[in-house]
Symmetry: C2
Subunit: 107 residues, 2 copies
Amino acid sequence: MTQLADTPQPPYYAVIFTSLRKVGDNGYAEMAARMLELAAQQAGFLGVESAREDVGITVSYWADLESIKHWKANAEHQQARRLGHEQWYSAFKVRIARVEHDYGIAE
Amino acid sequence: MTQLADTPQPPYYAVIFTSLRKVGDNGYAEMAARMLELAAQQAGFLGVESAREDVGITVSYWADLESIKHWKANAEHQQARRLGHEQWYSAFKVRIARVEHDYGIAE
């Protein structure tokens, strides 16, 4: 992840996923990369930004709530979430938010 | 930053600030810590999560748009933003979003 997401004019949606990891990889890195790849193929996907220090933050951007719902229902994504709950995360939070306004400077 | 933000039931607001840094600290770490401290003192502040790898992501949570507007108008914060544009960031984006739904597991 080396760029900021190039999102369109609002409104659009953000899924803010924050987490604390358990110790050990246990297949996490591979699955995380696969989920980014798979998410990017979904209808309505607009971009993603991700970083981890003590807390991990992944913000994915979507055209509408319907796209988020479809992604949540994806079978491979569901399996990854199950593993996440069982093996990788000691705590996590998912926040679904409607982006109403944005501004910034591009490189 | 070692915990997930303990936010109330939605709706509330998120300010998603993502950035790419220029090389060199130039006072950045000190100012970033000061801004987190100052933000936490503002009316309507609900919490913050922050991580940086290639991309830096700071998500702050607020009770309403009015609180975000007041924080944006804070003189010390304005000065920090000016320095950010001039010295620290090669690119950044600020997204103001209304959190409509959330779920997760706590530690």
